[in-house]
């Protein structure tokens, strides 16, 4: 009897903990899964097609990297109750504030265009015209925020995050070689041909897609909007950890798909990969297309919100998803304006979409280092962070990560401006 009562007590405790986690889970999972946006899925499918299973270990390494950076936003948001844009204005003054805000807004807008490009390309595989995809996307995105409750938006976004995991069953459906996956996952090695410029470019692209400036702004603002307190920080960290695990699993799923079905092929975008899957396995092709739409959709809603929150914080508008449209008109106006503008550009015939994708890479290197440096400095400010400031270990890990990201993303950006600089 004693044994059963103990078992029941433990069961109740586990259920209680799981319930508490589900209550607090959100920003970490959403930001990490949305990180696998349309551009990310394209990068992963290209990685798998070109280098097979050889680089899965590298994607696994990027999981902790993303976690360490994003975990800082959880602490900063929960302690200061300020979004990242407001925190920069407050701590570093208006010069750095305006620089970050305007750079973020421009970069977010360009990135959102690439999300809509991914969404329309994915749905065109099913014969849906781009204008229909864009309009349906707008309606869905609008419906999600118009409820006037952060909780509703977050749970709806989590449903779309669940849809993003579609790549995992898809990867299992094609009977991939498990031994090669395990070898590629746990034994770091370079692909045949060694360290080439093309490989370096793809590694940089993978890093560039793992850490993006909008993620820092988004998660910190989401933590504040959700009302997370210092006591919830552990759950926020677990949430971010689970998210980073999911982002790696989805990325590996994409790599496994193309490494198995399209080995050695050059892939320009994920929609092309989905099209090439169709004759081989119709269901897997369809799943990849659905996943690509979902990735673009999630990316668009999160990026647009990151900008709206940032503007709201700085201009002092009401800027919470807990407000109704009447209570926060500017916040929602900016959200819709951003979405409408990005969606419209995709519908313009002969819009320079390749140039826009290139611009995203270039502009990102002007904002990402700044955002990361500010993050480290803010997390070391004892006056605001108190006992939650970075420890020595966190500083060593985070500064190391930030320096590597800055160097590599700068090389990536410069190689986008000068394609032949790396001999490519």
């Amino acid at each position: 009897m004693n044994f059963f009562s103990k078992l029941f007590y433990r069961y109740k405790k586990v259920i209680k903990v799981a319930r508490l986690y589900l209550l607090i889970a959100g920003p970490g999972i959403i930001v990490m899964v949305a990180d696998n946006d349309a551009g990310g899925i394209t990068t992963y499918t290209a990685t798998g097609a070109q280098y097979g299973f050889h680089l899965i270990w590298f994607l696994i390494l990027l999981g902790p990297v993303a976690y360490y950076v994003q975990e800082m936003t959880v602490r900063l948001g929960a302690v200061t109750k300020r979004g990242h844009a407001e925190a920069i204005f407050h701590s570093f003054g208006s010069f750095w504030g305006w620089f970050s805000l305007l750079d973020l807004v421009f970069l977010d807008w360009l990135t959102m265009i690439t999300e809509f490009v991914g969404m329309t390309a994915a749905m065109s595989i099913f014969g849906v015209p781009p204008i229909v995809t864009v309009i349906v996307g707008w309606i869905l995105m609008g419906t999600m925020v118009l409820q006037g409750r952060y909780w509703t938006w977050e749970k709806a976004a989590l449903v779309f995050c669940g849809l993003n995991l579609i790549y995992i069953p898809a990867a299992f459906m094609i009977n991939p070689p498990v031994d090669k996956i395990l070898h590629g996952s746990f034994i770091p090695s370079l692909p045949p041909g060694g360290f080439t410029n093309a490989l370096f470019f793809l590694l940089m692209a993978n890093i560039g897609t793992t850490i993006a400036p909008w993620m820092i702004f988004f998660q910190q603002s989401a933590v504040v909007d959700k009302g997370m307190q210092e006591k919830d920080m552990l759950w926020g960290k677990i949430d971010t950890g689970v998210g980073s695990l999911l982002t790696v699993v989805v990325a590996a799923g994409c790599v496994i798909l193309t490494a198995t079905l399209l080995p050695g092929q050059m892939i320009d975008d994920a929609a092309t990969a989905a099209l090439r899957f169709m004759p081989i396995n119709h269901y897997v092709g369809a799943l990849l297309a659905i996943g690509l739409f979902d990735a673009g959709f999630l990316g668009a809603i999160c990026i647009s919100l990151a900008s709206s929150w940032a503007f709201g914080e700085v201009f002092g508008w009401a800027h919470s998803l807990n407000h109704k449209v009447k209570e926060a008109p500017w916040f929602y106006a900016y959200y819709f304006f951003d979405l409408l503008l990005a969606g419209t550009v995709v519908l313009i015939p002969h819009a320079p979409l390749v140039l826009i994708t290139l611009f995203v890479q270039v502009i990102a290197v002007t904002l990402l280092p700044a955002a990361l440096v500010f993050l480290i400095l803010l997390l070391n400010n004892e006056e605001t962070m108190g006992q939650y400031k970075n420890t020595l270990f966190q500083n060593v890990a985070n500064i190391g990560i930030v320096v590597v990201i800055i160097v590599i993303s700068t090389l990536y950006g410069i190689s986008a401006i000068f394609p032949k600089i790396l001999g490519g």
Partner: protein, 58 residues
């Protein structure tokens, strides 16, 4: 109406500039060095972009 919008926005920007005129973070040596390095990095990057733009025009 449009003129009003721009007037209001300019007013809001002035207010923000006044509110955040002074940085609130303690300007330690590490902070000063980081901000200086960031300025240098951004100037370098802008220089590279301007160079690329001019070479494209040629």
């Amino acid at each position: 109406m449009i003129l009003n919008f721009f007037r209001n926005t300019a007013g809001a920007v002035r207010e923000i500039n006044q509110k955040y005129a002074k940085p609130h973070i303690e300007m330690t040596r590490a902070v000063r060095f980081s901000l200086g390095a960031l300025r240098f990095y951004l100037l370098l990057l802008v220089g590279i972009m301007v160079y690329k733009f001019i070479s494209l025009l040629r």
